[in-house]
């Protein structure tokens, strides 16, 4: 196996991981601050992708599409938070699960009603189309590389927001002691709406960015949502740092497992069986990773000890 292939697959894994981080960061933030498990986060991812695709087709500008994705997802998030989600913060987890499951049904079928069942397409901007030659002579997709860079910039921005700004201080305080920050005069319901919209915007951005390399369709959000759950379980609920490490682990495991496990089995099985066993195991690899982390540290790598 060539070094070039390995590096290429590592980059692919990083790219998947970074996109998962955008999803997981919002989820873990919302859980950490408001104590809410939001299954409809995948719907916001989908909203971002559809908004981007629609605007891109109208204007032809990818940048405008990204802005549209951020705005639409943040708006949808704020709307849903104000109408429904805020009644659920003190509710049992089962109620949260059910209500947000109901929201998935409404979002998905609503989108199908408006856009139909056929996938939409979002084109990669021409400036980022095609490969770029990296040092060492490795040709790699410019767009995927751009995704990694954008994701890292967003992660850095998120870190600055939480560690360095007034809003971030309130968010961190909200994770520790809700009553206290309310007593200090922070408008808690506004803070919650902002946090929810922020999480939604991150999901929407991820949806738009990934939408350009996959198709934009109803139901695209939920598989990513469940991967993001795996990320959170591995990283520890409420920890942004955990989400980052968890996302990279999951991204790399999934990508590298899919490529290398069949190769590994080919060493001692006949090719057909190796391919089958390898790919079946690869599809399970991240869940095995999750199980291993659970045995080792039930509250995740960076989670507070339960």
């Amino acid at each position: 196996m060539s070094t070039i292939l390995i590096i290429e697959q590592i980059l692919n894994g990083l790219q998947l991981g970074i996109m998962l981080f955008l999803m997981a960061a919002g989820l873990t933030l919302i859980f950490g601050v408001m104590g809410l498990i939001n299954l409809a986060h995948g719907s916001l991812y989908m909203v971002g992708a559809f908004a981007a695709s629609t605007v891109a087709n109208l204007t032809g500008s990818f940048l405008a599409a990204l802005v549209a994705a951020l705005t639409a997802a943040a708006f949808a998030g704020a709307l849903v938070e104000t109408l429904i989600i805020r009644r659920l913060y003190r509710a049992p987890h089962l109620d949260q699960v059910l209500a947000t499951f109901a929201l998935i049904l409404i979002f998905s079928e609503g989108t199908r009603l408006v856009f139909g069942s056929f996938p939409l397409y979002l084109d990669i901007p021409s400036a980022l189309a095609g490969p770029i030659t990296l040092p060492g002579g490795i040709a790699y997709s410019k767009y995927r590389l751009a995704l990694i860079v954008i994701g890292l910039v967003v992660a850095l921005g998120l870190w600055c927001l939480i560690e360095r700004t007034r809003l971030g201080t309130q968010i961190r305080a909200g994770e520790n002691d809700r009553e206290m920050i309310a007593a200090l005069g922070v408008d808690i319901s506004k803070l919650y709406t902002i946090v929810f919209a922020l999480g939604a915007a991150l999901a929407g951005l991820a949806g738009a960015l990934v939408g350009a390399i996959q198709s934009v369709q109803v139901g695209m959000g939920e598989p990513v949502l469940i991967l993001a759950f795996v990320v959170i379980v591995i990283g520890g609920i409420g920890s942004i740092r955990g989400a980052f490490v968890g996302a990279l682990l999951v991204g790399l495991t999934d990508t590298l497992g899919g490529v290398f496990l069949p190769e590994l089995f080919a060493l001692f099985l006949e090719p057909g069986a190796a391919q089958r066993t390898g790919s079946a195991l690869a599809s399970m690899s991240i869940y095995i990773l999750m199980g291993a982390v659970l045995v080792w540290r039930p509250s995740g790598l960076f989670g507070a000890r339960a």
Binding site: I37, E109, E222, L294
Partner: protein, 328 residues
């Protein structure tokens, strides 16, 4: 109150029995099939209700057991219909088209898997538990898709319904009665378990874990047994569902199905014996009636569900009896 509840239970089961009986009279096999679908989904939800309603554990991965039951049926029947042998790695067996054997396999495989998933997921609680069960569900889903021996994404079709001694299972009303009988039997067992020492202990553990431990109970052990029992029943339902459709596909493992199973329990009334049966009947009726009006009926389902969560905790039984369901 006990008498009242028994009366409601009997009335619900009689209603479920009367619909296909009437359809049989008027020769409408499709209605019988709908009733069978309701009975089988009810059985699956009865299984989930043990874990969710009594145990208080929100499993968002119960489709795993539904799917395992389905694939247990499909694999055994697939080898029986092709006259091929099934290599288990430790030995070779023949397929079978005997329902009792298939059911037993479905129950055992589901119970063992439930124990394994339970051992891992019960190390945590709350939201973690929900996310982990959801993730394991997805694991089985992707595994089924990549398992090309049994159709991968396309699933497996079984051409002839499996056999039950003394019955013609291809006759809709006979197959319905078989499923209905299993449902009633399972409800009876569940009622016994619910009132047994185990049931009292499990129910108290849901309400106060500290209390349970302080009287010498081990919550995880109780929950693990509940998980196995719950998975076994849902697995049995999966085998019946596969026989009803004579087809299985990875969608039996899907997270949507896990969500729908929870919805069935909620619509009826959490933790109540007959709740899942009511939930399944209402669900199948909605699916048929609204689904006939518009292909976007899931929007209406979502709205109904939101209404139940935000305004009425007890589901249909809550409306009927004025009592809330179990708090989970």
């Amino acid at each position: 109150m006990r008498i009242h509840e028994t009366a409601v239970n009997t009335a619900v089961l009689l209603a479920l029995l009367s619909v296909p009986a009437f359809a049989w009279w008027t020769d409408e096999p499709f209605t019988i099939t709908l009733a069978t679908r309701a009975a089988v989904l009810a059985l699956a939800a009865v299984g989930l209700n043990i874990l969710l309603g009594i145990g208080g554990l929100v499993s968002f991965g119960h489709a795993v057991f539904f799917g395992l039951g389905g694939y247990a049926m499909a694999i055994l029947a697939f080898h029986a219909q092709n006259y091929t042998e099934l290599n288990l790695g430790i030995g070779v067996i023949d397929g079978t088209n005997s329902m009792p054997v298939i059911w037993l396999v479905a129950i055992i495989v589901s119970a063992i898997t439930a124990c394994l998933i339970g051992l891992l997921s019960l190390r945590t609680s709350g939201v973690y538990f929900i996310m982990i069960t959801l993730a394991f569900g997805q694991m089985f889903y992707y595994f089924a898709i990549s398992w090309s021996t049994y159709g991968g994404e396309d699933g497996v079709s079984i051409y002839v319904r499996n056999q039950f001694p003394g019955l013609n299972t291809l006759d809709p009303i006979q197959f319905f009665l078989l499923c209905f009988g299993l449902l009633c039997f399972t409800l009876f067992v569940t009622a016994r378990v619910q009132r047994s020492a185990f049931g009292v202990a499990l129910n108290a553990t849901r309400q106060s874990r500290a209390r349970a431990e302080a009287v010498g109970l081990r919550p995880v052990r109780l929950q693990l047994v509940a998980f196995a029992l719950s998975g076994a029943i849902t697995g049995l339902a999966g085998a019946l569902f596969a026989d009803l459709n004579r087809f299985v596909s990875p969608s039996m493992f899907s997270w949507q199905l896990s969500g729908e199973l929870i919805v069935l329990v909620i619509i009826g009334g959490v933790g109540r014996l007959i709740g899942p049966v009511i939930g399944a009947c209402v669900f199948v009726a909605l699916e048929h009636l609204l689904g006939g009006l518009t292909e976007y009926w899931h929007i209406a389902l979502g709205a109904i569900l939101l209404g139940i969560v935000l305004f009425g905790r007890g589901g249909v039984l809550g409306l009927l009896t004025g009592q809330d369901g179990a708090r989970v």
